[in-house]
Symmetry: C2
DNA sequence: TGGTTTAGGATTGTATACAATGTGCAATCT
DNA sequence: AGATTGCACATTGTATACAATCCTAAACCA
């Protein structure tokens, strides 16, 4: 493990990325360049660069001469986001289907075996690993990049689920079904289950968004 | 038409984008910040920003502390690029299938009618319009963005075809078949024809790349 | 009282100066 | 002769200063 020295711009980028993805930075919040500089102890140049990178990732909106804001998505946009992710991830799954190593799948299946008593954190971790596995097994680099972007953009919404009483066991069963379908190399079933899994997540997110809109008034 | 005042960074971006897409800047060529400044009469800050945007578009490679280069793609990468574009564009076509206005299709069909005597330029123009139509009719914004990126990244290779005696008439017939399939709302046929059309283009590009590799020695 | 205008402050866009790092060549040593 | 080390140069990364624009709000006029 080398210390991996990284530039100031990368540090700012990673810091802000982490905060946005984890939900620390509220959606719609302003990202003033000077404020970021003061907070992280760098000059405006790397701060600007980091904001541009976050804009590239679709996590930040930039308005010329007005500044940057953490991207706030209305329900329609969220729906489109998950829709697109479902398409692309299913595509990636189908393309790399034969390349997914059974050993990794077995490990994931084992991590899910006592489906009844899984903590939410453990379930989420397996979810990450499953989607990462699908991503990495895709042989087409461009598709990999795009699926990665979709995962990144939808990631901020995952924390929402922790705020609601998500049916952990049912969702874990969905994941298990996907993994087993891949293990027995049932292409169409795996793709269908994956799509349904992502769309199920979308519905849950949209439900929470509707609740928030009803409660908070102003959208996210 | 407002003059649409644009920032220095945008001007540099548009300028370089145009040059790269049109093939004026040779693939693999270095893009020195200072050199660009001197050429376009701006300072290094907007030049850097433009290079970052081109990097985002996948048209420029950035090596830390070493500089930027026009992205040079080996045949395997080119193949992957067109493959990914075919998948995404077919997806976009299917999603926006019913939304493609017949009037626009009719216009394109008319522009192709005397298939025998079409200039290469006219044929390319119709190609642009056809793919733009498919892109714009897709209702999912994220998918639109991604298909747009794919079109951008594959665009530099289109000029290659002008260097070879591409069978203009045959390709025009392919386009006509796609348009007619959409007009009669034959979903599966349209998707299949579009995929074959893009893959055909890929094969042609790869053939030329192989020729260039054989002739020039060093890759693009 | 309500709308318009204009000064003020704050923030982004751009230019430039400085610091850090990589590259290439030449001199030296084995 | 070949490899290696050291130095000079070129280029990128960062910091800071200046210019242009936008937002706010108070003052002004009808």
């Amino acid at each position: 493990m080398k210390p991996k020295i990284q530039s100031a711009a990368e540090q700012v980028y990673n810091h802000l990325l982490d905060e946005i993805v984890k939900g620390t930075r509220p959606a719609g919040g302003k990202l003033s360049e000077e404020h970021i500089c003061a907070e992280l102890g760098v000059s405006r140049t790397p701060a600007r660069e980091a904001l541009m990178l976050l804009h590239r990732d679709g996590l930040v909106e930039r308005f010329p001469r007005r500044g940057c804001f953490v991207k706030s998505q209305d329900p329609a946009e969220i729906a489109e986001l998950f829709e697109c992710r479902a398409w692309l991830e299913c595509l990636a799954l189908e393309q790399g289907f034969e390349l997914i190593p059974d050993a990794a799948l077995a490990k994931l299946e084992q991590a899910l075996t006592p489906v009844g008593k899984l903590t939410r954190a453990a379930s989420l971790k397996v979810d990450d690993q499953l989607h990462a596995l699908i991503l990495e097994s895709c042989p087409n680099r461009h598709l990999r990049e795009m699926v990665g972007q979709m995962l990144l953009r939808t990631h901020p919404f995952r924390v929402w689920r922790t705020q609601v009483d998500a049916p952990v066991e049912a969702i874990s069963r969905e994941r298990l079904a996907i993994i087993r379908a891949i293990r027995r190399r049932d292409r169409v079933a795996a793709a269908r289950l994956l799509r349904e899994h992502i769309f199920g997540g979308r519905e849950m997110i949209l439900k929470i968004a509707a609740q928030q809109a009803a409660a908070g008034g102003a959208g996210v």
